[in-house]
C-alpha cells in the first residue's frame, strides 16, 4: 500500500498554526512602470495576523503593491521586509483574467495544485492528499463538480475553486487581488466566511477590494491608496467621506512630463 510521502502533514500543520504570522514592513516603497510611480513612497506596517483591505480608485497601485509584496515586481526605491516566512510561503490569488480558463483540466487537478509545496513536481498525490483536496472542494461548496473541466465553470464557481486551491496551500501570508469582483451575494458571503476562518488561524491577509460596504463590514484594517497613502489604520478611521474624496482627486492619470521626484533629497 503506497503511503504517500506527505503523511506527516497533520502534525506539521498544527505546529505551523502556532507559528507566528508574518508581519510586513514597507519602507519608503516606490514601484514604477517606465519611471512613472504606480506606488509612491509608501511606508507602514501590516501587523502579524492582521486582515487588511486595500482600497482605492482604479490605477491607484493596489495590484502593483500586491505584486511587489509577492516579489513579482522590483521596487524602484525602498524596501519590503517580510518577517518570519520564506517567500514561497505566500499564497497569491490572481485576478481571474490572469488564468487560462479554457485549459483542459478538471477542478480536482486545479485544486490539487495547492499541494505543490508538499508534493512538488514529482511526489505522488496519495490517498490522504486526495482526501484533503476533496475536503477543500467541499468546503468551498463545489462538491460534485470535482471531475468537471474548468472551462465549464461559471465565474463564481471558478473563484471558489481558486479559494479551494488556497485552502490547500495553507500559507501564512495570503494576498487576494479583487477576490469578490463580479461574484453574486451568495458566493461572496461563502468566500468571506473562508477568509474569516483564515483570519482566525493566525495568518496575515491582504485583499484588494472595491466594495466599500463590504470592507466596512468585514475588514478590521484598511489601507486607502492613491499611489501614495491616503490613510492607513482602523477601517472606520480610514474610510471616511473626506478621505475617499481625497483619494479620487489624487488619482488622475499619468502626466507624461511629470518632473522627477525629489522626495528622497528632501
Amino acid at each position: 500500500m503506497a503511503h504517500d510521502h506527505c503523511s506527516h502533514t497533520h502534525t506539521h500543520r498544527s505546529s505551523r498554526d502556532q507559528a507566528p504570522a508574518p508581519g510586513i514592513r514597507l519602507d519608503n516603497l516606490t514601484v514604477a512602470y517606465r519611471r512613472h510611480p504606480a506606488v509612491h513612497h509608501l511606508s507602514g506596517n501590516f501587523a502579524p495576523g492582521s486582515l487588511t483591505a486595500i482600497v482605492g480608485p482604479n490605477g491607484a497601485g493596489k495590484s502593483t503593491l500586491l505584486k511587489a509584496i509577492m516579489g513579482a515586481l522590483r521596487p524602484a526605491t525602498g524596501r519590503i521586509e517580510i518577517a518570519g516566512i520564506n517567500r514561497r510561503d505566500i499564497a497569491y490569488l490572481p485576478q481571474i483574467s490572469e488564468v487560462d480558463r479554457t485549459f483542459p483540466i478538471t477542478v480536482l487537478d486545479l485544486v490539487a495544485m495547492g499541494l505543490w509545496r508538499r508534493c512538488g513536481a514529482f511526489r505522488r498525490i496519495g490517498r490522504d492528499q486526495l482526501h484533503r483536496v476533496n475536503d477543500a472542494i467541499t468546503t468551498v461548496g463545489l462538491s460534485g463538480l470535482a471531475e468537471r473541466p474548468i472551462s465549464t465553470l461559471s465565474g463564481g464557481q471558478f473563484q471558489r475553486a481558486l479559494f479551494a486551491r488556497m485552502l490547500l496551500q495553507d500559507a501564512r501570508l495570503l494576498l487576494l487581488d479583487e477576490p469578490f469582483t463580479a461574484l453574486d451575494m451568495k458566493t461572496t458571503t461563502d468566500l468571506i466566511d473562508v477568509v474569516k476562518h483564515w483570519h482566525g488561524e493566525n495568518r496575515t491577509i491582504i485583499a484588494v477590494l472595491h466594495d466599500i460596504d463590504l470592507v466596512r463590514e468585514h475588514f478590521p484594517q484598511a489601507l486607502l491608496l492613491a499611489r501614495s497613502e491616503v490613510a492607513w489604520g482602523k477601517t472606520e478611521d480610514v474610510l471616511t467621506g473626506t478621505n475617499l474624496l481625497t483619494a479620487r482627486r489624487m488619482c488622475e492619470g499619468f502626466d507624461d512630463n511629470a518632473p522627477f521626484c525629489d522626495h528622497q533629497a528632501a
Binding site: 513579482a72 514561497r88 490572469e98 483542459p104 483540466i105 486545479l110 495544485m113 505543490w116 514529482f122
Partner: protein
Amino acid sequence: MLYDALIAPFVEYGFMRRALAGCLALSFGGGPLGVLLVLRRMSLMGDALAHAILPGAAIGFLVAGLSLVAMTIGGVATGLAVAVLAGLVSRATPLREDASFAAFYLISLGLGVLIVSMRGSSVDLLHVLFGSVLALDDAALLLIVSISTVTLIVLAIIYRPLIIECLDPGFLRAVGGFGPVGLGSVVHVTFIALVVFNLVGGFQALGTLMVVGLIMLPAVAARFWFQSAPGQMAIAIVFGIVASVAGLLASYHWHAPASSAIILAAGGLYILSVVAGRFDSLAASLITLRHRAG
C-alpha cells in the same frame, strides 16, 4: 486483396518499413509536443522554429555534404539560438515572445535561403524543405527514434510544472522556486529545446516544413476528441500514426510524394475532426442533445 493494399508494401520493401518506423517515432514525440504548443497558444511557433533551423542545416550541408551529423548539429544550434534570443528579447523588453520570434526566424530564414541558393542547387533546397522519407538510412532512423525517446522521458519529468505554467504562470512563479530564474523559465526553455530537437530529427524524414505538419495537425485535431490534456496527447499520437500509414500507402500506390501525402492525410483527419469531432465540432453544435435537469 486487403493484405496487398495495406500490409504487403511494408512487408515486401525495406524502405517502406524504415519510413514507417521513422514516422511512428516522430508521431510519438510530436503528438504530445503539438498538444502542448496548442495549449500554450504557440501553434505557429513550430512553424517559426522550422524556418529558423534552415540556415544551420544549410551550413552543415555546405560544410559536409548530406551528412546527418553536420546538418543536425547546425539545425539544433540555430534553432536553439533563435529560441533563446527571442526569449531573451521578450524578457528584457516589452516585445511579446511571438513578435520577437517572428523577427528572429525571418532573419534566420533569409540567411538560410541565401546560403542554400549561393552554394547549393535548387534540388538541395527541396531536399531540406521536403525531406526524403523513403530514403532513411540507419543513422537517420536512429536519430529520430532517440529524439522521440528522450522527448517522452523529459516530458514525463517536467510534466507537472509544464502544465501549471500553461494554466497559471503566476502561480508557478509564486510557489515554484528555482531562484531568480524561476522554475517556469526553466521548464519553458526545456520545452522549446524539445520542439527544436524534434523538428531537426524530423526534417531528415519529412523536411523542415512538413515535420511541423506532423506535429501540429494531429494536435489541433485532438482538441475535438478529448477534454483532458493527457487524452488529447494520446489521440494526437494515434492520429499521427494513422496519417503516417495512410500517407505512405498513398505514396506507394499512387506515386505521390511521401511527405506531402502524410501531411495531407493528417490534414484530412483534422477536417474530419472539425466537422464530426466529439466536442465543440460543427456536428456537435448542430445536434442538440436533450439537456439534463441539473
